[in-house]
């Protein structure tokens, strides 16, 4: 605890993607983090998924690096198999009681080799991670890439605990890590803040017993189906029926299981099932072309960025059939185990047979969280989600306790990750003064200068228990290593990665004055950083280390050929030695950081971001091109949930303008942005007392929050009659800031048309907010004038998440919703200044003529003018629709690929105020990972250019995802041009080097010459 009485540590509850992101952001920003997870490994639901929409990225491939980073982070303490018992104290200084359940495996000793896993005789337990579709043993690892990678013992099934027999796992463990004597224990930690990222669970299928899950083997949940699709799943990625292992041909997805269903008290929309079902159908087609997938849905809620395009591709390119119908019942043919669906379709009741049915289950808050909410003393909403505030969607009802991820409301991964970074920011705001107080301080010995020394290589060959040693003759490989030129020392280790071996390696480096180290063991992907840290601790530059993988490449793939596996191991060691021979120490470049942030845009997102950044303890420059702050929110009266936007906005503006750390530049235009992460310099232009003035600002990070614009309609008679309005204009009328051509009280009929200028060829995206806006304004009209007839002409109603409730209210209050198809759009003509609307009603099966007093067009949002100019200045991309493009749609939703630049709000994509506010906080949380540092360490393995060879063809520039390479004039006198690398931005990915035909670019540590020498060593 510090002088302020606060503790610079945060407790994060839940190790899913949300909790992991919060922990990483906080750890990177100088806080101690306790990451508590009830399961034996972190990863949560995302670890169970096969692919992710809309990019079809492999879920584990993108998640795993984050899990590994969290597991290895010096500021993050993983506490698996742990739960919260209670909390006491005040925000800033909380004491949390935790219970850690015995794992029966010593994490400090276990190397994760997996030898024990094959010895356990209890082998028929249902594997929960695989949805029970495969078996596990009593000692088991939750999943292959689990972090921590150590197994756990299921004490309710283990013979040692049930009958005091066996002990096979203990005998097999050469590391001595199995400990049957471990006890459950209660511990207490002191933290300043708590973030609950407890996630959600899929809705129990018992909510819809008529679909037969549990009774019919070929009816599976969507999550079970993810495992079926997964290459690491129970069927190794082959699409098979659980009943007979046959490949299904006809597969049906049933949407809204446990969602949008008041009869089971699940009135909300789960927000992501439409997309995951379509994705599962697409991936199924990629696995097996002959499959005929069909998705039975009510409204296709593909409201996110690039979602509509994804669904269209699914239909057009993959042949996924989308059927608008709610299935009443599923029946099994007892003979074939096929399934017959009964549903209302064109021409009345219909039935159709399928080989397999997937239930698109919605999401529910984990029921055990009711208990957690009591223990942490915060409130839940009526569904059991954490109750939050619209404008601070991250704060729970208890001070000092924030919520991240789908425990706040149903949301997809990007929103969860956004909320997670936002929650990190919220915790930092409480603990700004405690930053760095409890963070780990690494003491690194001075680096030995090995330049000019003859190479002295040490080789360490790993048995990995029996994982390598059971196949490869490790002593023979070690002996061979000793015979190689420049190798002065070689030895074998049981586990090269264990703590005691690390110490031994350090001793050997010193004893034998080694100046290059080779480890032949497992995957560099997981273990190279560990060994690099070890050699660093022994005074060597980390890049004097080479690793080769004789486990995956030798003992695993040649399991039955020990001779060949041994020979290949020797070859790989020879190659690694050849590489080590030419390794050079690489310097780490340190760059100073200007601890201030620039926020571009003074709307809700920009102001929220600015406040969060200032709260975190950084100076903020807030630039707004208009004379006043507020942005689009100034035209909104209330949210659909009934929040008074005007009052909240005034409060926000007040806080921003009075904050001592925030300097507001309104009526200002950005002229230029130079520099890079940590060191930006921005030139502003603004008029002051009729004089144009320029000002230069220095800052370390940028948050882009430039918003979007309401589109002015051009269709359906807009502009031809004052009775044709935009939805925004109706909103202004309802809030009293605009005169209506016909008083709302006197209006007998109002027609709203949705998707005007959205989801068409020119703008193939959904503007996301218009459905809820129409519902909101419909309800408001009904309040003023209950007798008014309101017709909403729509394509799909997309009131996703908890907003579904207002859609239901609107229907209950008599708002009529008529669906139209893009092929048969409504037609409007103006007669005597009044609009006449005709639309085909699919329920009546005939056209309907309406003559409303007011016609209201929901004309969506379009990108902010000038986005492309700003994008150029920041060297960041826009997507095809003109919105700013994030670094990764799933896991980096607020980052740009260009480091140090973040985004928030509508400039990213249309969204609601609470979503914009969450993203704004998240941007501040992400920016803090940079601004909290005194210096940034650039990667050492970066590209370097030989200017003599460079032809200045500019090809590398376009290929660099990080905008780290640029052709410049390097000699003013001769005018010589060449590519120049910005080492602060370069990630060493090698795209530029691979494409440089002049071979002018090399990646340090991976020089073409070294690699060719390594290959030559193999051929010698």
């Amino acid at each position: 605890m510090s002088d302020s009485g606060k503790v610079g540590a945060v407790l994060v509850v839940g190790g899913g993607i949300g909790g992991v992101q919060t922990a990483l952001d906080l750890g990177d920003s100088g806080y101690k983090v306790y990451l508590v997870e009830r399961a034996s490994a972190i990863g949560g639901v995302m670890a169970m998924l096969d692919k992710t929409f809309p990019t079809n990225d492999c879920s584990m491939c993108i998640l795993s690096p984050k899990l590994v980073a969290a597991g290895r982070h010096e500021n993050i303490e993983l506490m698996t198999q742990t739960e919260v018992l209670g909390v006491s104290g005040e925000p800033g200084n909380l004491k949390v009681r935790l219970k850690r359940y015995a794992r029966s495996v010593d994490l400090a000793k276990c190397t994760g080799c997996g030898d024990c896993l094959t010895k356990c005789p209890v082998r028929d337990l249902p594997n929960e991670f695989e949805g029970g579709l495969s078996k596990r043993r009593a000692i088991y690892r939750m999943y292959a890439q689990a972090v921590p990678n150590a197994p756990t013992i299921d004490r309710t099934q283990c013979l040692k605990f049930t009958r005091d027999k066996c002990g096979a796992c203990q005998k097999s463990c050469k590391a001595g890590a199995i400990d049957y004597t471990q006890q459950d224990e209660e511990i207490e930690v002191e933290v300043g803040s708590i973030v609950v990222a407890a996630g959600s669970k899929i809705a129990p299928t018992g909510l819809r017993p008529e679909y037969g899950h549990g009774r019919y083997p070929n009816v599976v949940t969507s999550l079970e189906y993810e495992r079926i699709l997964s290459a690491s799943g129970p069927y190794s990625g082959h699409v098979k029926r659980p009943s007979d292992g046959k490949e299904p041909k006809r597969i049906a997805w049933l949407q809204c299981v446990g969602s949008r269903d008041d009869s089971v008290e699940r009135g909300y929309c789960s927000a992501m099932c439409c997309m995951y079902a379509v994705k599962e159908a697409v991936i199924t087609k990629e696995h097996a072309k002959h499959v005929e997938p069909a998705v039975f849905y009510m409204d296709m809620r593909s409201y996110g960025k690039d979602f509509d395009k994804y669904v269209e591709r699914a239909e057009q390119q993959y042949g996924v059939r989308l059927v608008r119908a709610r299935v009443a019942e599923v029946r099994e043919d007892p003979e074939t185990k096929n399934l017959v669906l009964r549903f209302a379709g064109d021409g009345g009741q219909r039935s159709q047979e399928f080989d397999m049915v997937v239930l698109s289950c919605g999401f529910v808050p984990p029921p055990e969280l009711i208990e957690l909410s009591k223990r942490l003393d915060f409130e839940l909403d009526k569904y059991g989600f954490a109750a939050t505030d619209q404008w601070g969607p991250i704060a729970t009802t208890r001070d000092g306790v924030s919520v991240a991820g789908s425990f706040a409301q149903p949301m997809a991964i990007p929103e969860a990750v956004t909320g997670a970074s936002g929650a990190a920011a919220a915790a930092e705001e409480v603990l700004a003064a405690e930053r760095g107080k409890l963070a780990a301080v690494k003491e690194v010995p001075a680096e030995t200068d090995v330049r000019g020394e003859a190479p002295r290589i040490g080789v360490f060959v790993c048995h990995c228990g029996i994982n390598i040693g059971g196949v490869v003759r490790v002593p023979e490989v070690t002996e061979y290593a000793r015979s190689l030129p420049h190798v002065v020392f070689a030895e074998e280790n049981l586990y090269s990665c264990s703590g005691d071996t690390q110490e031994k390696i350090k001793d050997r480096i010193r004893e034998h004055r080694l100046n290059r180290v080779v480890v032949a063991s497992c995957s560099p992907r997981t273990h190279e950083p560990l060994f690099q840290a070890t050699v660093t601790e022994a005074g060597l530059n980390p890049h004097l280390f080479a690793m080769t993988n004789i486990r995956d490449q030798c003992s695993w793939v040649h399991m039955k050929e020990p001779d060949k596996a041994t020979e290949k191991s020797k070859d790989l060691v020879k190659m690694a030695v050849a590489r080590a021979l030419r390794l050079k120490p690489l310097p780490k470049v340190k760059l100073p950081v200007t601890k201030a942030g620039l926020v571009v845009g003074g709307g809700v997102a920009g102001m929220t971001s600015a406040l969060a950044l200032a709260g975190e303890g950084f100076d903020v420059f807030l630039v707004e091109q208009e004379k006043t702050l507020g942005g689009n929110a100034r035209t909104i009266a209330t949210t659909v949930e009934g929040d008074d936007v005007k009052a909240r906005l005034e409060e926000l503006v007040g806080k921003v303008t009075s904050h001592p750390r925030i300097k507001v530049y309104s009526g200002a235009r950005i002229k230029a942005i130079d520099g890079f992460v940590g060191n930006f310099q921005t030139t502003l232009q603004r008029e002051e007392r009729g004089e144009r003035r320029e000002e230069s600002l220095k800052h370390g990070a940028v948050v882009v929050a430039t918003g979007a614009q309401y589109r002015t309609p051009t269709e359906y008679g807009y502009g031809q009659s004052d009775r044709v309005l935009s939805q925004k204009e109706l909103e202004e009328i309802l809030s009293g800031s605009r005169q209506s051509p016909v008083a709302i009280r006197q209006s007998q009929s109002i027609v709203m048309i949705q998707c005007v200028g959205s989801r068409d060829e020119e703008r193939p995206y959904c503007s996301r907010i218009c459905c809820a806006e129409a519902v909101k304004n419909g309800l408001k009209v009904k309040e003023v004038n209950p007798d008014a007839d309101i017709y909403v002409l729509y394509r799909d109603i997309r009131t996703y998440g908890l907003r579904e409730e207002y859609y239901r209210q609107a229907r209950q209050k008599g708002v009529v919703f008529i669906r139209y198809s893009p092929e048969q759009k409504p037609e409007v003509r103006i007669e005597d200044g009044k609009p006449l609307v005709s639309v085909f009603d699919p329920i009546l099966g005939q056209p309907v003529e309406l003559s409303p007093d007011l016609l209201v067009l929901s004309s969506g949002l379009v990108p902010q003018a000038g986005s492309d100019e700003l994008a150029k200045m920041l060297k960041v991309p826009l997507n095809a629709d003109g919105f700013f493009l994030e670094a990764h749609m799933k896991l980096r939703p607020v980052d740009f690929a260009t480091e140090g630049v973040f985004m928030a709000g509508l400039c990213h994509f249309p969204k609601f105020i609470d979503e914009a506010a969450a993203q704004a906080k998240a941007a501040a949380g992400r920016a803090a990972t940079i601004l909290s540092r005194d210096t940034l360490e650039a990667e050492a393995t970066v590209a370097s250019v030989n200017p003599d060879r460079c032809s200045a063809c500019h090809m590398c520039e376009g290929l660099c995802a990080y905008r780290a390479i640029e052709v410049k004039t390097i000699n003013e006198r001769t005018g010589k041009q060449a590519a120049v690398v910005n080492e602060a931005l370069c990630k060493g990915c090698g795209a530029c080097a691979a494409n440089c035909r002049s071979l002018a670019i090399d990646i340090r540590g991976f020089q073409a010459e070294n690699i060719s020498r390594e290959i030559a060593a193999l051929l010698d």
Binding site: C950, S951, S1012
Partner: protein, 372 residues
């Protein structure tokens, strides 16, 4: 702006020289790069600035010793505010210039791309004998080729060329499908081109159908020839052993690389010490195989060149002309580049706006790779 231009004295070449003279005198161009006869009577190029000297220009000279884009890259890497140089070049040469502009090796600002139809050329070496003492050879060639006549004495690459008309140009002068004794087809595609046409007596009209048909017919015939030659090539080259055999005479002189207009590196890494091995290494490699071919690395050199050039290769075949041991490079590069460019829906030199295939990424490209 397009139309026909009257030919004076049945000499299209003289007519074009007249245009040159006019542009230089009016100051519309400060110099013109055009084919010319060398003192020895073979084909070369010259940069003309004095109208008096234009007798030596032979704009329609049907022989090629170098792809002029290589020369353009040498003098026009940077733009100059004072110079305005007209490039009177063949379609394949202009296509190479376009690629070089995209590769930032040529700055377009000081250049005006003036193209001429080309129905095929002879090798520069030996051209003196083909032409003999015929002073009207060029015009005869144009006359003969305006209707397209297959000529097996043309360079191999020309026999396969499907672009007799330039694809990107400011101004083009065409004779294919025209009665070249009386009129030429002139077409300005840009403001720069229009500037040159201004003041000329053009009888404005749409491109004559006869010309369009002739161009199409020529392209079709050339595509058929290409298919036949590639079939022959496949027989001679497909398979690892045959591939080695195909290049087995290579002297490692690197001429093909040096004359290639789109091979633009300052220093080829094959000319650097990257592949230099010491005697010990050479002997070690030899010991392993019993005997190794010297010079070594020739196959790698050619494979690398194919890899590097495939996207921008304009199939001019000048590499083959430069090969002292007559390796059939023209057909080989035609095949490789045609296939590669098809994969990327790209045609080298077709457009200044089309991004270079390797500088872009499309989600949908090469989806077959790795999945099947």
């Amino acid at each position: 702006m397009k139309g026909t231009l009257k030919v004076e004295a049945k000499s299209p070449e003289a007519t074009i020289r007249g245009l040159f003279a006019r542009w230089l005198k009016e100051g519309k161009l400060s110099a013109i790069l055009s084919p010319a006869y060398s003192a020895a009577g073979t084909a070369t190029l010259a940069l003309f600035s004095n109208p008096q000297k234009l007798d030596e220009a032979a704009p329609l000279l049907p022989a090629m010793g170098v792809n002029a884009a290589s020369i353009v890259a040498e003098f026009a890497r940077d733009a100059s505010p004072n110079a305005k140089v007209g490039l009177f070049l063949r379609p394949c040469e202009l296509r190479a210039v376009v690629e070089l502009i995209k590769l930032k090796q040529v700055a377009p600002d000081s250049l005006v791309l003036i193209g001429a139809d080309c129905a095929g050329t002879y090798k520069a070496a030996g051209f003196r004998n083909v032409r003999g003492k015929d002073a009207d050879f060029d015009n005869k060639h144009v006359r003969e080729q305006s209707g397209y006549a297959e000529n097996v004495n043309f360079r191999v690459a020309c026999q396969m060329c499907e672009y007799p008309k330039p694809l990107v140009f400011d101004l083009n002068v065409g004779f294919i499908g025209m009665d070249a004794d009386t009129e030429l087809w002139v077409e300005a595609a840009t403001d720069k081109g229009k500037g040159l046409v201004e003041g000329l007596e053009l009888s404005a009209q749409d491109e004559p159908d006869k010309r369009k048909k002739a161009l199409e017919g020529l392209s079709a015939a050339r595509k058929a020839t290409t298919a036949k030659r590639i079939e022959e090539l496949d027989k001679a080259m497909m398979g690892p052993e045959k591939l080695v055999e195909y290049f087995s005479d290579c002297l490692n002189c690197h001429n093909c690389m040096k004359v290639c207009p789109v091979c633009y590196c300052r220093e080829c890494f094959f000319d650097s010490d990257t592949f230099q091995r010491d005697i010990g290494e050479h002997v070690r490699v030899s010991l392993r195989k019993g005997a190794t071919r010297m010079p070594s690395e020739t196959l790698l050199f050619h494979l690398t060149r194919m890899n590097h050039m495939m996207a921008s290769c304009v199939q001019c075949g000048i590499c083959e002309d430069s090969c002292p041991v007559t390796i059939g490079l023209a057909t080989l590069f035609k095949k490789v580049s045609q296939n590669a460019q098809k994969e990327f829906e790209y045609v080298s030199g077709r457009s200044l706006d089309e991004p270079l295939p390797l500088a872009t990424f499309r989600e949908s490209e090469f989806t077959k790779v790795g999945e099947e």
